[in-house]
């Protein structure tokens, strides 16, 4: 299905990145998520290199805890706070594709509804009013929830940086890559990336 790609796991104590096309910050928990989700991970040694990679125009995706880490490093705007219902929510979630002009989403139709699982306790996206306006103007909202599960402002499920090369999202596209998993919507994201990298 995919051409062959090298994948390298980078330990958080590393201080440099090898030559890569894409950095993926996966979900899970980091440093027990003490203090705030992703806050201590954002200060781990490798994150200086990740920030550098962003500054030179590198492509980055942060999923779930990875999204929280990207907001804590200020690579992406906003913050993720506990869900309004104070519960860990784990379910398939309908999303609307708001921006299909990124490397990550170009194979989706604009405004299409897709199903991608969520699994988080701290997924409520927050940004103050003036910054929300700026984010909207920059087409920084990539995915919105249909039937907002966690209280996120403006139903935001995923955002991107001004240069559209960094994306953060609470839903897990990597868990929706096979019919047996219930959805293949996530696969479209990875196919978009491959299409765009091969064009580059």
């Amino acid at each position: 299905m995919f051409p062959e790609f090298d994948v390298k796991m980078i330990w958080h104590k590393e201080t440099t990145l090898p030559k890569v096309d894409l950095v993926v910050l996966p979900g899970g928990f980091s440093y027990g998520d003490y203090l705030r989700c992703g806050a201590i991970a954002a200060k781990s040694p490798i994150m200086k290199a990740v920030k550098n990679f962003y500054e030179i125009g590198g492509f980055i995706i942060g999923i779930c805890n990875g999204f929280q880490i990207l907001t804590e490093t200020k690579i992406l705007p906003g913050a993720l706070i506990p869900n309004t219902n104070q519960k860990f929510i784990c379910k398939d979630q309908d999303l609307v594709v708001e921006n299909n002009k990124t490397f990550f989403t170009s194979n989706f139709e604009h405004n299409r509804t897709i199903s991608i699982p969520i699994a988080h306790h701290d997924g409520q996206y927050f940004l103050n009013d003036s910054e929300i306006e700026e984010l909207e103007q920059n087409e920084g909202i990539v995915f919105k929830y249909r039937d907002n599960p966690n209280g996120s402002i403006k139903d935001i499920a995923g955002v991107c940086s001004k240069n559209k090369r960094v994306i953060g999202m609470m839903p897990h596209p990597e868990r929706a890559v096979d019919k047996d998993l219930g959805s293949v919507s996530g696969l479209t994201m990875f196919e978009s990336l491959i299409t765009n990298f091969l064009k580059k």
Binding site: T71, A79, Q86, F126, N128
Partner: protein, 88 residues
Amino acid sequence: MTVNEKVFKFKVEVILKKGVLDPQGEAIKQSININNLGNILDVKQGKLFELTASSKNREHAVEELEKICSDLLTNSVIEEFKYYEVSE
């Protein structure tokens, strides 16, 4: 700690900024009111940190403390902090 350094103790309070939804505070408020413990209009839940610093003087200790507060203990998107020195 070197011979020229002194110990300073601080307490740091971190609280959510106005306008940020605080579901934990809301749940606590409901519990207070349901249990008739008082007539409470609003509850905000925050964090309290106690830091013990070793520094050449108070000014330097405070300078470091402010950096710790803004760089790590709080996320300025959602939180604000205040600190005070304590004797013990």
